[in-house]
């Protein structure tokens, strides 16, 4: 199954890269630098986990591939915006992302802020566009779902809570860090899966199951990220490692310890997989993905 998953991940990543390349604004005019930075941020590889989720869920419901690609590209644009802003000096102050200079390093801070703003806006523009789905209600639901997942109660709220946690004197507890990660990374991962279900006009039952899957898988993914920060090597992850510890930042690993953190990730993975029972073998790649996120080396 790992081979089939790797092939599917590679194909999805390549298809999403092509879609983004086609739909992103071309660089022209005095503001060309903006489009260049947007393209630099979006077309620099990456796992493309979120778009893969959208595409795989969409295929469960026989969604027209071109529609699924557009929605997936929109979600990846929103993800890329969040990475640009998170990397800024005033935030996590990162110089490397996917083994390349971050946007504010490759361009400058003002351009990075604006490229993030433009990508977020572009995500909604894409979702609202006619080519994403013939039914306006579907497009509207995509917009509403992604707005909720990315805003003050989701991704942005999670980043704020994360910054607050870094500044606080006391130790974080498991409840606080779980809530924080559910907002910061979980909400968009869940919305990516949900988008596939929305495109497919899935039943309420199927949608709830897929949200449950993405929720558990997303949390396992985050715990695995914390484990990688401790165990990974810079050559493999393409970003600095050991940073969390150097900053004295609380993570699942610092709270639970390596072994319990790994056990928790495995538990969540099994739980995620159980949500997929109703889809039978059509969900085989989603099952494989849940296993992959805790086994990956980067």
């Amino acid at each position: 199954m790992t081979d089939a998953l790797n092939a599917a991940l590679a194909k999805a990543a390549s298809d999403i890269e092509k879609t983004l390349d086609r739909v992103l604004p071309p660089a022209s005019g005095p503001e060309a630098r903006l489009a260049e930075a947007m393209r630099y941020a979006c077309l620099s590889g990456g796992k493309r986990l979120r778009p893969f989720l959208t595409l795989e869920v969409a295929q469960l419901f026989d969604v027209t591939p071109s529609c699924a690609y557009r929605a997936a590209a929109a979600i990846e644009a929103i993800h890329c915006y969040s990475l640009i802003h998170d990397d800024l000096p005033a935030m996590d102050d990162d110089d490397l992302r996917r083994g390349k200079p971050t946007v504010h390093k490759a361009f400058d801070e003002a351009t990075a802020i604006l490229a993030g703003d433009a990508l977020l806006t572009f995500g909604f523009e894409l979702l609202a566009g006619q080519d994403t789905h013939p039914d306006p209600r579907v497009r509207l639901e995509l917009v509403a779902t992604l707005a909720l997942a990315s805003g003050a109660h989701g991704m942005v709220g999670g980043q704020m809570a994360d910054l607050a946690a870094e500044k606080s004197e006391g130790e974080l507890d498991l409840h606080t860090i779980t809530r924080l990660q559910k907002m910061k990374t979980g909400a968009l991962i869940t919305a990516a899966a949900e988008a596939g279900a929305i495109l497919g006009k899935a039943s309420a039952e199927a949608r709830t199951a897929l949200k449950g899957y993405a929720h558990d898988m997303g949390l396992a993914f985050q715990i695995a990220d914390d484990l990688l920060d401790v165990e990974g090597r810079v050559e493999e992850t393409g970003k600095a490692v050991g940073k969390d510890e150097a900053r004295g930042k609380a993570t699942f690993v610092s709270i639970l310890g390596l072994e319990r953190a790994r056990a928790q990730a495995e538990l969540l993975t099994e739980q995620a997989i159980r949500h997929l029972a109703m889809f039978g073998t059509r969900a085989d790649l989603l099952v494989a993905l849940a296993r992959y996120v805790i086994e990956r080396k980067s």
Copy 2:
């Protein structure tokens, strides 16, 4: 007419303030600082020109007031996000806005970036929400129109072009600065008027007329802003003046000179007013607004 306009502007500003206060997320949890910054940015007064436009255009078509308020609040949230990000040290580096410390001064840079991100997202969330209009097609058109006006081809693109212009050695010409301002401030002003027409399911003819009005009025507004930067006083405008000149920044005034800039603003105002002919006396306040923007002292 000035009294009627002042009363209407004051009422709209107060109603929008109340709407924003009601719909903005309350401050709670470890991320409370985010909601506080969003509220600080949105509830600190201001002319509320864009929401006023949405409300006044909506009343031409007897739009349910509660719908118009929500759409207008969404547009003001998007406007406020752009102000927060424009004021950042990496951008225009402003300490004062509406006579109060800018968001990154009152809070910090990271919070300001995130509050801007969250307000932009919140704008789309509001527009997509059921209470904004019963017809999902209308809500979707609002989202699409605002996304186009605020993104890389609109407001954000304009800010990028403006930063590029500041860095360039050569003098800007009238064409370049007009294009830049149409993107940076004009696109959202036009979209604010268009939103009222979308809510009212206006005819294509009416919509084109209202876009023409807002386009011309918006440009007159920007020229008036440049005039205020030269002629205004800090006590009246609530922000630093003479900044453009100190920075050697090209403006309509530096290119055209005071007299020709003023004449151009007046010409645009008359042109804006002519677009309103088809609406008769129902557009009286929009007519008065066009006159006001070039006569205001702040």
